[in-house]
Amino acid sequence: MRDPLNSKIKKIKPSGIRKFFDIVSEMKDAISLGVGEPDFETPWHIREEGIYSLEKGRTHYTSNAGLTELRAEICNYLKRRFNLEYNSKTEVLVTIGGSEAIDAALRVMVDPGDEVIIPEPSYVSYLPCAVLADAKPVKIELKAENDFRLTKQELLDAITEKSKILILPFPNNPTGSIMERKDLEEIAEVIREKDLYVISDEIYSELTYGEKNHVSIAEIEGMKERTIVINGFSKSYAMTGWRMGYAVGPECIIKQMTKAHQFAIMCAPTTSQHAAVEALKNGDPDVEVMRAEYDRRRQYLMSRLSEMKLPCFTPYGAFYVFPCIKEFGMTSEEFATKFLQEEKVALVPGTAFGDAGEGFMRISYAYSLEKLKEAFDRLERFVNKLRNEK
């Protein structure tokens, strides 16, 4: 029989972390600090709006690009929060989570052989999506000494004449790193000069701390016309299960993404779209409350890490800390496995997000303080034990 599969999909390696996660889920009393989604439930007024839309029988397709009202609210929101201006009729596409937007953007923007530059460690889907779009992924290894920010030189070193797209994943999962205005201005210079496009994944844009508000690269001069901004409701409004994201960008790109979306997806779920309108209209205070809670946890964890002398740069975004465990002479995966076996706490090895994550662990603080406290008591005990054994 012929091989039913194409060579492209077979080249994509399944996530090696699967086995580890299986062990965790079978371990009954294990504490996991592994998930990448908010522990909060979607605020009730948003859920209630979803329910109301069902009661009203709003159970049909919406237009391919998404509800007119939702697209208008997205534009209001982007203007209000990040000083970005888009035309709601021609420059917005509502997608099934940010993930679909990433996939669609890559599929309409690259030709076979085009290079897509992906800074790592970063979210796991960029590379496979690039491969499925027939692009050639080119990784940039972000460095702890730069607080895992992307520098001008690193970008320059990765560029060839085939380079077309830079993925910009900030605030970053898994490191919690952010790019501030000056960082963006520096790389923007290179991007303009080398005529690149940017897919800027800003899904964590609402979760920045220490008065470091998120800046979108699309706001930097000359960048709007070469940037697709991807955002969504999952992290900011605790709406992961609703699968609501969007892309905004130049009309010529959004138009083609809408075409890809039309034929693959038709439209984003109608109930979720109605709920999303409510989130944008009246959800600002909820975001404020959640951000304040994340920030308290972040600082709590940073204090604990510094007390146990585990090096970690100060993250200003997302809901992760990314401490370095190189002193123990183990790989991230070995550390994760041993920690799970001995103390029953699951952390995600940095290598799950690319080779650049070797020597680091991703710790999510989308957990209650009580849980974090218990897990960090165990981490402290574990770390001290490892040091004593040396």
Partner: protein, 161 residues
């Protein structure tokens, strides 16, 4: 700092000074000092525990009483409110706008006890013109906390997101 502490302990007064210090990048002593000051200033008025007595197997009857009173010259409603809130059975007293003056919430072991309080203590007060007593049948939510809600397991699954 004080405001940050209040925000943090609003829903959970069990957080220790050490943990608060860790959250706000300061010392345990500094946090303890702030809290002591706020206690002295009566910004923090107490640390009661929210107990579902019904679930604990204790009989508790709660009643909400709408009270109309005559305000006193120079003292307004404060004097009569104080005479009422000093009773141990009384858990809350609010001055209201609208059709009556004071909302008095009282707790007792039985309906009879509550009825006794109203007829023997509250209603006969000189300044009290009338009382309308409403018994609570079921408590759903108190102080922002849903009482009946089950503790939910973490339903989030481990996927790389």
């Amino acid at each position: 700092m004080k405001d940050k502490i209040l925000q943090a302990i609003d829903k959970n007064s069990k957080i220790t000074a050490l943990d608060l210090a860790r959250m706000f990048n300061t010392t345990e002593e500094e946090v303890a000092k702030c809290i002591a000051e706020m206690e002295a200033d009566k910004i923090i008025c107490g640390y009661p525990t929210l107990i579902n007595w019904e679930k604990a197997g204790n009989e508790v009857v709660t009643a909400l009483i709408e009270v109309k009173v005559t305000p006193q010259r120079g003292l307004g409603f404060d004097k009569i409110a104080e005479r009422i809130y000093r009773f141990e059975e009384v858990t809350s007293v609010y001055l209201m706008s609208g059709g009556f003056d004071l909302t008095v919430i009282i707790e007792g072991k039985s309906m009879r006890e509550v009825a006794n309080f109203v007829s023997a203590k509250l209603a006969p007060m000189e300044a009290v013109l009338s009382c309308a007593t409403h018994f609570v049948l079921k408590k759903y939510k108190e102080q922002g906390i849903a009482l009946a809600e089950e503790v939910k397991d973490d339903e989030r699954i481990l996927i790389l997101a």
